[in-house]
Amino acid sequence: MRMISGSTNALSQTVLERMASYRYRVFIETLGWELPVREGLELDQFDRPDTVYVLSHDARDEVNGCARLLPTTRPYLLGEVFPQLLAGREIPCSPDVWELSRFAAVDFNNQNLNPLQQFSSPVAVNLLRESIATAAAHGAKRLITVSPLGIERLLRRAGFRAHRAGPPLVVDGHAIFACWIDASAPEEAALAA
C-alpha cells in the first residue's frame, strides 16, 4: 500500500485526474450521491489550489482510497453547504481546525470486498491515520468532518477520540453527520482518556 499526500499545486495533473476519477466511481457510480461531475471526474468548488489530498494506492498502483483536507479559515464543505449539521453551534474558523471530507476507501481491485464495506477495511484505517497525520502536519489540532455515519465505527476501530457535533440528517436519502476528531495520535488519546 502506497500513500501520497500534497496540495493541488504539489501533485501532478495525472495524480489529480486519477483521484477525481476514483471519486466519481465511488461517490457517483457506487454510492449514488448527487454531486457535480465533469467528464467522469468528481470535483467541486472546494477542490482548489490550496486543497490538500491524501491518496492510497494498491499493489497495482491504482487508487484505492482518498481523502480531502481543507483549512476552516477558508470556505469549506461543512461551513458553506451543511452548517445545519452543527445544530446551531458556531461554524469553526481556526488554523487549528481542518475539515476532512470525501473520505473513501473502496478497493475496486479486491473482488472479495463489498464496496459498501469500505469503512471496515485495513485501507480505510491506514488512510484515516495518514489523513489525520497530514492535517496535524499542517497545524491541525482537531478535525471536523462531514461523513456518513459509518465513519464513527472506523474512528473507534482506529483508536481515535471523536464526538458528534450534532445529530445526523438525511440529505438526498443519505444519513450524514458532522463529527469532531482529536488530531493527537491514538496512543496519546488513549492515555488522555
Binding site: P92, Q117, Q118, R142, G150, E152, R153, H163
Partner: protein
Amino acid sequence: MPGDEPLRLPLTRLRRLELQHILSGIDRDSPPHEEGAFQTVITGFTEWVSTAHPIVTLGWDWQMQARGNQPWLCRIGTPRSNLLLQSHGRKKIDWIEHERLLQCFVDSLGWETESLKHIAVLYRNVRAPHCQV
C-alpha cells in the same frame, strides 16, 4: 475553539430528557455471501435525538435476535454521541465509566419496539436476494 467540545451533562439531567427516534437501518456493509451459504446475522443502527434543548444525539448498533418467535433487537457496542457525562458534582468521569453509563442508559430506554417498527416499514418491500422468484 467554541463549539468543539462535547456536551457536558450529568446523567441525572440526561435521564430527564425525552428522546425521539429519528432513523434506523440495516447494515449494508456486511460481507458478501459465500457460495452455498448466506449470512444469518442481521445488524444495523438506530439514531435518537432529544426533543428539547440541550440537543443530545445518540446512536448505537444492534443485532437482531429471536425472542420467542418474534424478532428483537439487542444493542451491541457502545453508543455514539455528542455527550460527555459528568458526575453529580460536575466532575469529569473517566472514559470507561462514561461508556458504561451510556450503555446502561440506552438499555433502559425501551427503544427496541420503535426501531423495529421503523425497520419493518423501511424494508417491507425488500426481499433477500436468495428469496427472489
